[in-house]
Amino acid sequence: MEVRVDQLSKAYGGFHAVEDVSFRIGSGKLAGLLGPSGSGKTTILRMLAGLEQPSSGDVYFDGRRMNDVRPQQRGIGFVFQNYALFRHMTVADNIAFGLAVQRKSRTDIRRKVEELLELTGLAGLGSRLPHQLSGGQRQRVAFARALAPEPGLLLLDEPFAAIDAKIRKELRAWLKETIGRLGITSLFVTHDQEEAVEVADEIVILHRGRLEQHGTPEAIYREPQSPFVAGFIGESTIVPDASSLRGFEEEAEHHQGLIRPEYVELFKTNRPPAVRSAAEEGVVRRQFFRGSFWEVEVEAAGAQLTVHRPLEQEPLEPGEPVHVLIHRVYLFRGGTGRMAENRRKTDPMPVYL
């Protein structure tokens, strides 16, 4: 099912939870609604489900306007943050609930429940009560229950929030794979950018009720359209005026510049870079061992930069002066951005001299 949201807004009294949000999720896609708490992501999910009425704007499923359709008739599956499993029903009865509503025959229901227990790796647990299950198992039950009536759209509200960090990773991979196999259009809400990047085919980033950017994780990482998005996805430092950096003097003034760890390279003073004038002078402040690399914080050009340094390179000492070569900077102006390369590094002039 294709989902389209058009100029959607929701206000509670004077508070605008969602403001003028539009996006489209193609059929069969797995999309993540990403944003900090209070960004309106859950409100959007609830409006898609019909649990909340939009103040203005429209919701379309496969081109059909759904605003006035009750949640019961929308053909959606919803996985709640706390799972909302019916506590007095067994796992099997929970899963069968939506099928019983559809007045399916008893044998059909039993077959479907068995199938879903199998799919979710819960075979044999059908007669347990929810409070006899682990957190991860409960989440799978909630997932199976939502899938049972064969919805055209699956909505998941912070599906991993209540699960131990250890199992979370495993569940994420499982969920992505299962949804991919079923081919059901899915939207999940999360505040965890790592989770969104890892699970989603495409990400909708929200901030203060507004849509900041919509695209594949890769596109958002490579070309963030606002400092907020840049700061939200991946590690980065923002400098207020990129033209003050060496190698970027020719860029227009007062553009904010985003520098990610992989844009920067460090050189010991006894092994300077080929084009020395392209590098800033800096000082190592702190250094952390991250397993496969060193994370180095350096102070250069009036900013704190984070740099990843391979283990095979000579280690640095805190307080040590270094050359800091900024290969590229992502520049913002208004709502758009572009990548700028260090011009001094590639300046052909020295060759001619």
Partner: protein, 306 residues
């Protein structure tokens, strides 16, 4: 028992349509509930005042100032003045022991504290007759020493104590349980003594709950009928409390006078409920303030994302 705990009454947001019943169902249900409560609770209260003033204000005042009525009021006040402080003492000390310490048999202790709720008031009176009545176990001993317990003030006080004794404890225990003991332990580690900790740290946090416990205990003490009825002997002007006075007048068909005396007890009940509402309102305001602070924290957190 849940009934005496301060109920959480946090306002929820307006119910969304999918969680709601059709308007006509809502109106029907509200109508039924209001009708039921009116018939069962409101009309009886109104009836008390209507009957009390049936023969005019003069008769009303006269019935309240008659010699027997005044004696009954005095006795009722005296009983409450003895019983309530004793039960407060028990309530506070039981709550302290139960909520600040862990010990074996705590659940049993709590169940035993609840016992008087489960015992018929008539049986509460009966036990003291069995112990102190003229044919009771200690009866001959008491007669020998010319001590009177049954059919006298001590018996009335004892049975009142029995019936009202869980109220303060039951009000305080959930409250002090929720507050934990961190603050007290901090105070002790700073060198404060036990009494000082109680009066400076614990009491300020529980004073409103304690107030409601006292008021409720007082209302029950002044209003107790069954247990007192068994042990009092109904000696007019001597061992008649206000509720017993009401009964006697009613049985003598002096309805206006009976309801006049009853109206005093209704007022007592209404004051008790007003205090309860006030205490709950304070708790709610406190909870709201906490929630507001939390919301602000969330906003700051969100601002930090910028």
């Amino acid at each position: 028992m849940a009934s005496i705990a301060l109920g959480p009454a946090a306002e929820s947001r307006e119910t969304p349509a999918h969680l709601n019943e059709p308007a006509w169902v809502r109106v029907l249900l509200i109508g039924l509930a209001v009708l039921f409560l009116t018939l069962i609770l409101l009309v009886p209260l109104a009836a008390v005042f209507a009957e009390a003033f049936k023969k005019g204000a003069a008769v009303y005042l006269q019935s309240l100032t008659s010699k027997d009525a005044l004696a009954a009021i005095r006795l009722t006040l005296a009983v409450a003045a003895i019983a309530v402080p004793l039960n407060v003492l028990f309530g506070v000390s039981a709550a302290w022991a139960v909520t600040k310490f862990r010990f074996r048999g705590k659940q049993l202790f709590l169940t035993l504290t609840d016992l008087p709720f489960a015992v018929s008031p008539v049986i509460a009176g009966l036990v003291f007759i069995l112990l102190f009545g003229s044919r009771g176990w200690l009866g001959p001993f008491l007669a020998e020493h010319d001590l009177k317990i049954v059919f006298a003030l001590p018996g009335i006080v004892l049975s009142t104590l029995f019936v009202t004794f869980p109220f303060v404890a039951r009000e305080l225990i959930p409250l002090m349980e929720a507050q934990g003991k961190d603050e007290e332990e901090a105070a002790v580690s700073l060198g404060a003594g036990g009494w000082r900790v109680f009066f400076r740290v614990t009491l300020p946090g529980i004073k409103w709950g304690l107030l409601y416990g006292i008021i409720l205990c007082n209302a029950r003490a002044m209003g107790e009928f069954g247990a007192v009825s068994v042990v009092s002997g109904h000696i007019r002007g001597r061992t008649n409390t206000l509720p017993l006075h009401v009964e006697i007048l009613y049985n003598e068909y002096q309805f206006a006078a009976a309801f006049a005396a009853a109206s005093l007890l209704v007022l007592l009940a209404l004051v008790t409920l007003a205090v309860k509402s006030f205490v709950e309102w304070r708790h709610r305001r406190h909870a709201d303030a906490l929630a507001a602070r939390e919301r602000q924290g969330a906003l700051r957190e969100e601002a930090a994302w910028r």
